[in-house]
């Protein structure tokens, strides 16, 4: 044993204070106790220091000696010493063996040293050893049993605690499991659903029994299986602690369910993967909303067709440069006369018609692998991202026009819509999206012009003129802002005395690209696009301001001013207030103003004088009928109106001056018009009179005044007063 502690008799430099009553004289009892200590100290852990053990054993040696020296053997007292050793945790069998050896061989000798002359009978010595061993063994046995009992109880308690913890943890989990709005599944490491809560059955619309035993992947829609599988594999491999992916499902009733699926691995006590808990949050509403928002951003709300945004994206994609000779096709469609339908039958019917047409366009386009988009109003575009030449493209276009042309029944109306189409079909290389759409739009415009319900194929040369018109109409509003328009005045000369009695305002456009443009080059265009309202408003304002200036300069000598207004502008309900405001602002006396309008503009739809006429009359201005004689038979209705004169123009006027004598028919026509005007008490002004001979003949026919080259060159507003100063 004891190979480690120092073996030789300890030489104490001094016993630790208070731990030994040992004096300088070596006490044989203490000495014995030290040797006993050394014999047992390493057999088991004795929870005291060596000096404390010495003290403890010294006391026991004393008691054993006392028993030994007594008259009779006291077995109980000796056994108690044995038990006390065990109580101080001198418990090893080896300790008992060494104790018995030590006591058996040396206790008698110690007794003799303590009580000289004492002889201990061998029987007494044996009795003492036997009692000591019995006391030790009994106590040791009790101690072992007690300790085993304690450790067993500890195990049971620990198990109870663990089970309790497990139970409460399970109870907590169960409570969450059953009451959660989340779908919760306990899934084996093999992916099979082992347990599911009620929310799972609600989310998936499947009974619990049908979910149990399912594989978690088999529930997902095919396109989402890979994503889910990948996430779950990473979880099982320990690469991630948890995953969360959005997965789409389809219930047996074909309902689409979007679930945010998150999974976590549950490990057992040893840290090994045990099973997975997979949560399913139903995010269908959120998904549907997002999808709807996405759809709304790229689709027209009325017809459900792609909108401009989506078309632009697709067009961009279609025009992405690729090797090879890919071609692209665009068909720009516009319903013919849609405005009439809208105006006459009302917007709801118009909208229904648009939807019906959109639906047909979409079906046809989709059938050809093309994209149909609504550009706004009644304009649609069909994009063919990959054409193989004009023939197939035009096949689609004709198919589209046929489909649109089929009659459609809406709210009791049998409607026959037609559409015109501008078609562009060209190689992808060198095309840009904006240009492509513009070309299709211009081509559509031409299709409209050339008659309706037909397509026109884009042709770059023929389109130059159309493009110019397109450019003009597109730039007109900006040109007004940039003051590119200006007014010139054409003198109107009275034939009786040769005096200039009026100045006719003539609008012109100083176009930065096309140079100076005459009214006939853009006024018609302005009428088509609606820009005429602003243009006429501007012209009226300018002319009145100029004329007011003349009145201030020339007084009663100032000429009248004639302003040509378009019919559309004249019937604009805003004109009344505009008109008043313009006169007030410029300070022009109304009687100085003559509004030259087409005859038709003076009447409303049922043929009564337009409201504007009364206002003009009230203010004191008067009208010039520009196209007098066009509706001869209805001319009498002008009788009651403030029309002072009529203007005549045309080829037959020019022919009056040709040849030695005028053509009798021309002469008759002119004379008839003039007579009619005179019967209506109106003077006649002839336009486009260039020669003195013409003027002479017209004078003979009682034409009141003329304008044109023979009446004088056009002048600017500032030049007008000079003109009168020089002539006066």
């Amino acid at each position: 044993m004891n190979d480690t502690p120092v073996e030789e008799e300890p030489v104490l430099a001094g016993a630790p204070a208070g731990t030994s009553r040992q004096a300088a004289e070596p006490d044989p009892l203490v000495d014995f106790a030290r040797r006993w200590s050394r014999a047992v100290i390493d057999t088991s852990y004795v929870p005291m220091s060596r000096p404390e053990l010495w003290e403890f054993l010294t006391e026991r040696v004393r008691r054993l000696l006392g028993t030994l020296l007594a008259e009779h053997h006291d077995g109980k007292a000796v056994a108690e010493v044995g038990a006390e050793l065990v109580r101080e945790h001198v418990v090893a069998p080896e300790a008992l063996r060494r104790t018995l050896l030590l006591l058996g061989s040396e206790l008698s000798e110690l007794a003799a040293r303590v009580e000289p002359g004492t002889v201990v009978p061998a029987g007494r010595r044996l009795e003492l050893l036997a009692s000591l061993a019995a006391g030790f063994d009994g106590a040791a046995r009790d101690r072992v049993l007690a300790e085993q009992g304690v450790i067993q109880r500890a195990v049971l308690n620990a198990r109870d605690a663990a089970e309790e913890a497990l139970r409460s943890s399970e109870a907590r989990f169960r409570a969450v499991f059953t009451s959660s709005a989340l779908g919760i599944a306990v899934v084996g490491l093999d992916g099979v659903l082992q347990d599911v809560n009620d929310s799972m059955t609600v989310i998936f619309g499947v009974a619990r029994e049908r979910l149990l035993g399912c594989h978690m992947l088999e529930l997902a829609d095919p396109d989402w299986v890979d994503k889910l599988h990948k996430s779950d594999r990473a979880l099982l491999a320990g690469a991630t602690e948890r995953f969360a992916v959005d997965v789409r499902y389809t219930t047996p009733e074909e309902r689409t369910v979007w679930a945010q699926v998150s999974g976590a691995l549950v490990t057992d006590g040893a840290g090994e993967p045990d099973y997975q808990v997979v949560l399913y949050a139903d995010v269908t509403d959120r998904y549907m909303l997002q999808a709807e928002l996405r759809r709304q951003a790229t689709h027209d709300p009325l017809t459900g067709l792609a909108n401009r945004t989506l078309l632009a994206t697709r067009l961009q994609e279609a025009l992405r440069p690729v090797p090879g000779n890919r071609r692209v096709g665009i068909c720009y469609l516009d319903l013919d006369g849609f405005k009439t339908i809208n105006d006459s039958l009302g917007h709801p019917i118009g909208d229904d018609l648009l939807c019906a047409v959109a639906n047909r366009i979409n079906n046809t386009a989709t059938g050809h692998g093309a994209l149909a988009a609504r550009m706004g109003g009644d304009e649609f575009v069909v994009l063919v991202a990959d054409t193989d030449g004009p023939t197939r493209m035009l096949g689609l276009v004709e198919h589209l026009l046929d489909e649109i042309g089929r009659s459609v029944r809406i709210g009791g109306h049998e409607l026959n819509a037609t559409a015109s189409a501008g078609v562009v079909e060209q190689p992808v290389a060198g095309s840009d999206p904006e240009q492509l759409l513009r070309e299709a739009d211009i081509t559509l415009y031409r299709a409209k012009e050339e008659g309706r319900a037909q397509w026109v194929m884009f042709d770059s040369e023929r389109n130059a003129a159309a493009r110019r018109r397109f450019r003009l109409s597109a730039t007109m509003p900006a040109a007004l802002d940039r003051h590119e328009f200006f007014v010139e005045y054409l003198p109107v000369r009275r034939l009786s005395d040769g005096r200039t009695v009026a100045m006719r305002a003539d609008v012109r456009w100083d176009h930065p690209e096309y140079g100076e443009l005459a009214a006939e080059q853009f006024v018609g265009l302005a009428e088509d696009t609606g820009a005429i309202t602003r243009l006429n408003d501007w012209l009226l304002r300018q002319a009145c301001a100029h004329a007011a200036h003349w009145v201030r300069r020339l007084g009663t000598e100032a000429p009248l001013v004639t302003v040509d207004l378009s019919g559309r502008y004249f019937r604009d309900p805003d004109l009344v207030s505009d008109f008043r405001e313009i006169l007030e602002e410029t300070g022009l006396p109304a009687e100085q103003l003559r509004l030259a309008v087409p005859e038709q503009a003076l009447f409303d739809e049922v043929g009564d004088p337009a409201d504007t006429v009364d206002i003009v009359r009230e203010l004191g201005a008067a009208f010039v009928v520009r196209d007098f004689g066009a509706r001869y038979t209805e001319s009498r209705r002008l009788r009651e109106l403030p029309v002072t004169s009529v203007r005549v123009t045309g080829e037959y006027l020019r022919r009056l001056s040709e040849g030695p004598r005028p053509d009798p028919l021309d002469e008759h026509l002119v004379s008839s018009v003039i007579s009619a005007a005179h019967l209506l008490d109106m003077t006649v002004v002839a336009d486009g009179v260039d020669t003195a001979e013409q003027a002479r003949r017209l004078r003979a026919m009682k034409v009141h005044a003329v304008q044109g080259a023979c009446a004088g060159e056009p002048v600017s507003a500032l030049e007008v007063p000079e003109l009168f100063a020089s002539s006066g």
């Binding site: 480690t4 502690p5 120092v6 852990y45 929870p47 220091s49 060596r50 490990t267 006590g269 840290g271």
Partner: protein
């Protein structure tokens, strides 16, 4: 143990426990056949394992008494194991009945055992927690009741940290305790080494590898580094029989055979 993804650890009696083997070496009977089987295997390879364990236990006694002598009246015994014979509260309360002790172990049987032993002792309790759950331990109800961190405390890590691998960051954990200990506190520390008798230590490492508590041996330098935040009291970090023996007789002829370094550090 607070990881919500882990179910409460079951009581595993299939595997030997270091705490119950230790009890066996000390002569206790708080152990099972599986523990004794391992202990006997160890004894076959390291014949003096019992004196070795007893020596370590004696170091605990001397360290606790050292702290008591310096006025410490509260003890946090980490990795206390089976509070078999000669445990901290007995040592402390024998000298100072008002002394308070909190035992901490991560092994459910050890904790249940401690609670059984401590029934009726209002100044001592046991808590199940991991060594590195510093905040959890110090914020526990038991710590609140027994420990006062405004007063110096003795933290015991006797024969504990050689069960903590480097990957678990033992130095950081020790530092975390250091931070929470008021100045004037002490750390009692012992740790297995292979420097003196590598074959003995290796036997222990091998045999414990499959137990619930695998062993990591460290060098003197490594152990000293673990304690670097503390000021070590005399005689510093030494083999445990050399650490303030009660008598000259308690010194070992070859202290290295104890296989265990011990030290008491003071927080300045």
């Amino acid at each position: 143990m607070t990881d919500p993804n882990r179910l409460p650890a079951d009581v595993d009696l299939e595997k030997a426990s270091a705490a119950r083997c230790y009890d066996y070496y000390l002569g206790g009977s708080h152990n099972f056949e599986v523990d004794r089987e391992l202990a006997r295997k160890v004894e076959a390879r390291v014949p003096h394992v019992k004196p070795l364990a007893q020596n370590n236990r004696a170091f605990l006694r001397r360290a606790v008494r050292y702290c008591l002598d310096r006025g410490i009246r509260q003890f946090l015994d980490l990795g206390s194991g089976i509070p078999t014979v000669g445990n901290v509260h007995e040592i402390a309360q024998d000298r100072a009945p008002e002394a308070r002790v909190l035992y901490v172990d991560n092994e459910p049987v050890a904790v249940a055992h401690s609670r059984t032993i401590l029934e009726g002792n209002e100044r001592a309790d046991a808590l199940q927690a991991d060594f590195d759950s510093v905040e959890e331990i110090l914020a526990s109800e038991q710590a609140g009741r027994l420990l006062d961190l405004s007063e110096p405390i003795a933290v015991m890590m006797v024969a504990l940290v050689h069960f903590v691998p480097d990957s678990a960051g033992p130095h950081e954990t020790i530092r975390a305790y250091h931070e929470r200990m008021p100045p004037g506190s002490y750390l009692g520390f012992s740790h297995v080494t292979h420097e003196g008798y590598p074959e003995f230590t290796q036997s222990i490492i091998d045999l414990y590898a499959d137990s619930s508590n695998p062993v990591v041996s460290r060098t003197h330098e490594e152990v000293a580094e673990l304690l670097s935040d503390f000021e070590l009291v005399e005689p510093g970090l030494v083999y445990v029989p050399e650490w303030r023996p009660d008598t000259e007789e308690d010194r070992w002829e070859d202290p290295a055979r104890s296989l265990v370094y011990g030290a008491v550090g003071r927080k300045v």
